[in-house]
Symmetry: C3
Subunit: 346 residues, 3 copies
């Protein structure tokens, strides 16, 4: 999509300031966003850190989104690019990018090689890629896209404006609400890891894994992530939550809204992650844990079984996870002692 | 499948007690299992924790599996549901679930879009899903199911009653025995991570990864897990072992029987995990390690190269893994010292 | 492929010594490589550890690659196998294996069920497996193989002699140079994990993930690994780098040449890994980290955001990663104190 700078300014809530020097050379239409280094003359860039001002001004970009005292720029005498003044330049830039994004080049409708069960429903404007399979009773909402090679199980419900990348598997009965984005290779609704041991024989017998998985609006799920269905009840991913690549979410987990979970984190069965929690990469959360609203778990920390982690912006780190100040103090003390001991021995 | 309560009691080895008050309303046929909260009138539930007795009795369920002094219940005067008395209610419940489970709704035989090499064999009652490919010399045992989009390499042997979910890749020459269950996206028999460095050039050259992978009866493998073939010899997963999502098992690893390995654990080349070991989530086991029979490795612990971990129910934790008591004592000491130091400074 | 011992010796730069006793029984042609235990009479084996000399000599193998004082062997009086004397036996063995390897049994050309866009180019001697899809403007180089069920996005460039295993997804615009090997289920070029939070609403909005991914010559990528495209710029994997199963590499990461990254390691956005770095399994590298040339990161260590790790063969361990000697000293001190305290209390 192409837009004029004035139209973009309006859409992203920025104020457009066009220096006189720029009027003649002003690109009539903006075609995309870019980094300072890679920008072309039809791109918009943004300035997050003042130290890049010089290179931003010297870039080929058509315009700069920034949060800035323009007077200060003016005194530099060299300002000849249009500026988009925004309270939060990075957010404004993200919105400009969304506005300018090329829509997926998917052919509408069902590809000739896809197999859609006669009882499945495909919404208006939806598309189903080559070799995809959609089973009995499944439905794909309006304008949603199912990638090539996806396996959509029986009675799966996919809402409107969802985007499912290639080779994703969704087990039967899973529900995705609207604007859910799933990256390639992710598996949704697989059996949870639940067994009962027969002590007489030593064998593990499978506990039923027949529950559901429900993924709410605006969730994004990373490549090769796995989310298990509930055992008897439901696994839930709340609205607006973002899940990175290779994350594992176990059965019966309940995740709130606007939670961020970085790559390779694992969340065991029946744990609860409340709204607005931030989870770093490679974090491990054992079963039956509660992470309270707004807590921040540092990368690689581990929360043992049954624990409750306080929220409200508190930061936790370590294995087992404890308040970061406490953990850092312990580590610093140990480092000092080890150093001191070395001196004593020398 | 539907069964009468009497038939289920017989099959799962429980004793059926039907209170007089219940006889008239007794559901003629049980259709499934459920949680207390979600049960309908044709479902069985189970009671693991006495604190849920009240809600179990008040649920819609047709009957309750429990391990219980029935006299105590009788005195409550409110008992009007049939009971199934079992020594291990959760195990009895799992067995009832297996009994009542709906068989996969797969069409028997080979889907019209699957490609089965003329030298491959498909057993009686087996099914091959849409778009699956089965290469030269592979065989699929009786009643086994190959999901849509699976890639079954040359000379792969799949036993009887196996269930392979969609989009699984099995490299050439891998053997699965009977009743193996593999979840979506798993990769079996990929090349191990073995290279030899040419010190003259600094380049890594590939060490041959031409060995086999053998997976014994009753193994279950989680979604997007990866198990490498042996380099020159064989990688083995023993009978009854359960492997969770996103687990990595390297080349030449030998895993015994009835081992449980939780999500995102990684086991490096040539390590040996003996029978009945329990491995928590995100555990790291380096190469040439031995974990003795019955050892328990706590979540996120790490076992360095070449170490032997004692078995017999001993629990290990930490990085590097050490007996959990020792690890906890060290952590507690450090925490006390850090606290004490704070007081001293105040 | 079959070769005589003399030809193999020449190709791998080893010196062939044929004892008189062996000449009559000398296998005319070598067919493969094997371990000592599994070798047949047409196989070559290698000796890395002198303690296996006896079993190597007693094996069925046709010849042994070794680095050895042959006089010492001669005095044993039992030496009757041909020997291939090499400065680095394991490397010579790896090269013999490469020489003797059976080429992939792929049918040349495009499988009848694959879908290749009319604007895509397939090189001479290349092969595209069943059910694969290759989109608009993509190109596959000479002699490269695309496995069954792979999804090759628009404008993807795949060089010569690449091997892409089944069910791999490559997003649009990714470039692979020559001799790149990608294992099953890997995802290349997925969106990075980048959002901007609107503090007013608490919602995370997607930061554009429109950059590229470039993978240089001789890289190998493990099963179910995920590598994200750049956000605005490029993610780069340097020549000769080896990436194990289930590794995650985030957006804008730049990895140098001949780097080795073991299974389940995660590298966050915008980090730089210089040439010849060795990264153990389950390592976590946060964003904006620099790992200098030749550094060694022990398994499970964690490098916090923004840190620089010194190179030149230095080994780091722990969370946060510190020089291994310091980390081990601290751990030893703590263990001694915890033990001492116990004695004091007894």
């Amino acid at each position: 999509m192409k837009y004029s700078l004035a139209e973009i300014a309006k859409q992203i809530g920025a104020e457009l300031r066009t220096p006189k020097a720029a009027t003649s050379t002003l690109a009539p239409e903006i075609e995309g966003v870019a980094s300072i280094a890679s920008a072309n003359s039809a791109d918009i860039i943004f300035l997050d850190d003042p130290k890049h001002l010089e290179s931003a001004l010297n870039s080929k970009a058509a315009a700069i989104i920034l949060h800035q005292d323009p007077a200060k720029l003016a005194t530099r005498g060299q300002q000849h690019k249009p500026l988009l003044i925004a309270a939060h330049p990075k957010l404004a830039f993200a919105r400009a990018a969304a506005l300018l994004a090329t829509p997926g080049a998917w052919q509408l409708g069902v590809h000739g090689t896809a197999i859609v069960h006669k009882n499945a429903k495909i919404g208006l404007g939806a598309s189903v890629g080559a070799m995809a399979t959609i089973e009995d009773g499944a439905s794909v909402g309006t304008r949603s896209h199912i990638g090539a090679g996806c396996r959509i199980g029986a009675r799966v419900v996919i809402g409107a404006d969802c985007s499912i990348a290639p080779n994703v598997t969704i087990y039967s009965g899973v529900t995705l609400h609207d604007r859910v984005m799933v990256h390639a290779g992710a598996v949704l609704g697989s059996d949870g890891f639940g067994y009962v041991r027969d002590v007489a024989t030593g064998k593990y017998e499978k506990f039923p894994q027949q529950g559901r998985l429900e993924i709410h609006d605006d969730v994004e799920i990373g490549a090769n992530a796995t989310i298990d269905r509930g055992a008897l009840d439901v696994t839930v991913i709340g609205r607006g939550t973002k899940v990175d690549n290779l994350v594992h979410i176990g059965h019966n987990v309940r995740i709130g809204e606007n939670v961020v979970i970085a790559a390779q984190t694992g969340i065991s069965g029946s744990s609860v992650i409340e709204d607005e929690v931030i989870v770093g990469g490679q974090v491990g959360i054992a079963e039956h844990v509660t992470i309270k609203k707004g807590a921040i778990l540092g990368a690689k920390c581990g929360v043992p079984s049954g624990k409750t982690i306080q929220g409200g912006g508190m930061v936790y780190w370590g294995i087992p996870a404890r308040p970061i100040k406490q953990h850092l103090k312990e580590m610093a003390l140990l480092a000092r002692m080890a150093k001191g001991e070395k001196r004593k021995r020398d």
